[in-house]
Symmetry: C2
Subunit: 281 residues, 2 copies
């Protein structure tokens, strides 16, 4: 595994690989790697000649007052995991090299970026679209891999790739869960033992929602049921959204339809967690 | 010369050329080709293995009430000119193929886009940055050519290319002028005989500004002199800006410095015209 820190050098390596007809599979991450990330990387390794993983905690996707400063960073442990899984390149740029003084270009995906998490994290998806656009130009992947846990993000990236005519296939891989159902997330590291236990309520509510939808319940009743479950957990501090949404528009669903997105964002004590399920009835 | 209308096909052709190690020189245009465009194309032909010219009147860079509908379109005459100069590919997409229903991604270069023309054409440079980003992803050029007449545009494109890590060299070519000094522009076609004559005042004012700066005049005095010249032409209807600016920040220049941008935007009757000169003292 080669570690590359300079965007220009990474771009040259990618250019040479592409010129030789080699396909690059790319997994962008913010580090603190868990089994969710590793599942994306395994898939990238299977489907491409070369695999590039980036680790970059992207400041532009954190709003003022969010957890940018305390976001978990453990590059040494991440490197070990990536060595073991045998990737080709780890792209590890610093902030100054990706956002030098005078930086001023941003990519916005309108509409989708204002829904769900976008309502509570102003500028978040602008930061995501911008950094992914930059990384795509540097890495030039044939395929890029994202986790379904960040469903809205994957939808926005797909939209950006189509709109800006990127020659890249976006592959969304299933959410990897702990044994008790909690979706893997770097932010789970913030939870103490009690909070960690309380966090399982999220997947329980999603599962209940799925069961009800499959039984033919009305979306509005599903919303009420999920909310009820979440509110019964005392450590749930702030339910930002929870319920049945349209998987393409992210709008709330009022009438029955064929496909649903069940999605939840809430705080367990101070930690913001999200999760979702796609349901087809 | 091959004419390509479908973005996906153009992208595949470009991908194959790049994979074969061929360099692509790209000249994006809105058609109504004049000697200014042709000078860019000649340069692209000299410096690259293949030359792609696009003709696309980009709706997202026209504000409400601007001249999108009546912008000069003469594709047959343009094709003849391109045949004659022997380019390899003419990319001629329709609006629906570049902005299909549901399109929602935009690229913004903050700061620079709000100065000079940006003050009078809200959203203009967002539209420019967006379409150029799209065309770059479709054409994958090694080098792209822009005219200095649209100086602010070239500055914004350079900034976008650097910020978004595009692997593309931006080349800005000198403004081509009519014998009487008027900068070539597709919009000159809007002018009647009398207006066409009046329009020469723009270059006259720029030349006077250059002369004064080289004589060591204060920028504020240069501004006054240029304004005086423009105001003496009765067909000049609206001076949007005219004077001495910084070539990198586009801010008004108050003190003497080494390099200046002299720039003018005004209306002759109903036709908005722009021009500029870079001056080094």
């Amino acid at each position: 595994m080669e570690i590359i820190r300079i965007p220009r050098i990474m771009r040259e390596i990618s250019r040479e690989l592409r010129a030789k007809g080699k396909s690059i599979g790319f997994v962008p991450t913010m580090g603190a790697l868990h089994e969710g990330h590793l599942s994306l990387i395994k898939r990238a390794k299977e489907e491409n000649d070369f695999t590039v993983v980036s680790i970059f905690v992207n400041p532009t996707q954190f709003a003022q007052g969010e957890d940018y400063d305390r976001y978990p960073r453990d590059v040494e442990s991440d490197k070990e995991k990536l060595q073991k899984i045998e990737i080709d390149y780890l792209f590890l740029p610093d902030v100054e090299s990706l956002y030098p003084q005078g930086y001023s270009t941003y990519v916005t995906v309108e509409g989708l970026s204002d829904k769900l998490c976008g309502k509570f994290r102003p500028g978040h998806f602008r930061g995501v679209a911008t950094i992914v656009c930059k990384l795509f130009n540097i890495i030039k992947p044939a395929k890029a891999y994202f986790g379904q846990k960040d469903y809205q993000q994957s939808l926005i990236i797909r939209r950006m790739v189509e709109d800006l005519n990127f020659d890249i296939e976006i592959i969304v891989c299933p959410t990897i869960r702990e044994q008790d159902g909690l979706a893997m997330s770097s932010r789970n590291l913030y939870l103490n033992e009690e909070e960690r236990k309380a966090a399982t309520v999220i997947y329980k509510a999603l599962q209940e929602g799925e069961k009800l939808l499959k039984q033919g319940a009305q979306p509005v009743d599903v919303n009420l049921n999920m909310m009820e479950i979440l509110k019964n957990e005392p450590l749930v501090k702030e339910i930002q959204y929870a319920g049945v949404f349209d998987p393409l528009t992210l709008e709330e669903v009022k009438e029955k339809q064929k496909k649903y997105l069940l999605a939840i964002a809430l705080k367990i004590a101070e930690t913001r967690l999200i999760d979702n399920l796609l349901v087809e009835v």
